[in-house]
Symmetry: C2
Subunit: 191 residues, 2 copies
Amino acid sequence: MVAAKAATQLGYTLLGLVLAKPQSGYALRKVFETTPLGNYSSSPGSIYPALKALEKAGLVERRSAAGGGGKQLFAPTSAGEAQFGEWLARPVDEEAMARHLDGVLLRFAFLQFDPDPGVSRDFLISFEAAAWARARALEAFLDGEAGRALSLHARLAVGHGLENIRSSARWAADARRQLGDKAEEGNDDEG
Amino acid sequence: MVAAKAATQLGYTLLGLVLAKPQSGYALRKVFETTPLGNYSSSPGSIYPALKALEKAGLVERRSAAGGGGKQLFAPTSAGEAQFGEWLARPVDEEAMARHLDGVLLRFAFLQFDPDPGVSRDFLISFEAAAWARARALEAFLDGEAGRALSLHARLAVGHGLENIRSSARWAADARRQLGDKAEEGNDDEG
DNA sequence: CCAACCATGTAAGCTGTTACATGATTGA
DNA sequence: TCAATCATGTAACAGCTTACATGGTTGG
């Protein structure tokens, strides 16, 4: 049990991508170039060092590709799969909601690889709860002593955050509905 | 004209705070502790080095406080004020909208210090335009080849970003209205 | 043969963080 | 005098970026 070192956010992203399909560093760069994934740079200086770190941590391994040449494919190890699953299952808390929303959404996107639809459901439930909690905190701030002392500009800026959080909460409810609709085609879970 | 080096985001934040009122590093830390400003750590290891960098760049200066002891106040220099004003007046582009929204909102909050209400208005106009542009870009992505190939999870994740951007755009329109209402009490600008 | 793309990497640096360290002042 | 708070700072590192560097392959 080699208690693998925690991967970085970018590391988990790469782990998720090679878990979906083993691929080369170059192919991974193309993903970052062509999709709004994370918001990470697709430059080689970002991707290759991150892959190397994952390899060193024993979370991915590289295989020589069939095509020959120096080309190589990255694939997750079993430790990598396990740690990725752990990452995915983390509940969403208010702190993550406030400061690492991008990472939280990234995690949600990768929940497609969890065979248990209950994990996605739990994720969205905790997401929505954390969002409303954060919204209440911002409302309390605006209504409190410090908040009332703010200028209109500052209040509006905080209000922007509040509106975005509310939008996120509504999104979670809607996403849960959409995933539920999809699930109904197959089986049924306790509500 | 000593072309002062550009401050960092945290640097501009501190610059804005000392512009509002010259204060000590400790007092600045308290602001970060008690308000959702930026999302910066209030730890001394964040604030003091940043202040030192601003001082080195000639954007703030320190004065010994009246109270005696080692206590000192930071205040903006004229170069600091000038550069802060420049920072404030930057138009909002889609790139900033997508990747540095926090910083953009921070700038808006500090626009309270610009005596010309037209700057705030222009800011919100470009903000709204950039938001809708970003929304259209995400819509185009979802409707495009790459987007349609995504799993429901991934589509929902992108959809979250889209909803947030729309929320931001609506906020800008509302904020403009609120600032306009306030302005009507005073004078009138060409519409 | 040359341009375009495939493919991989290193070096240096920026921005900010946590953890550590220190000392003065104030009030119970 | 002892704890809490005021007040300032450094050291080490994390995580990512840009810029640089290199070479293979493929097609016109």
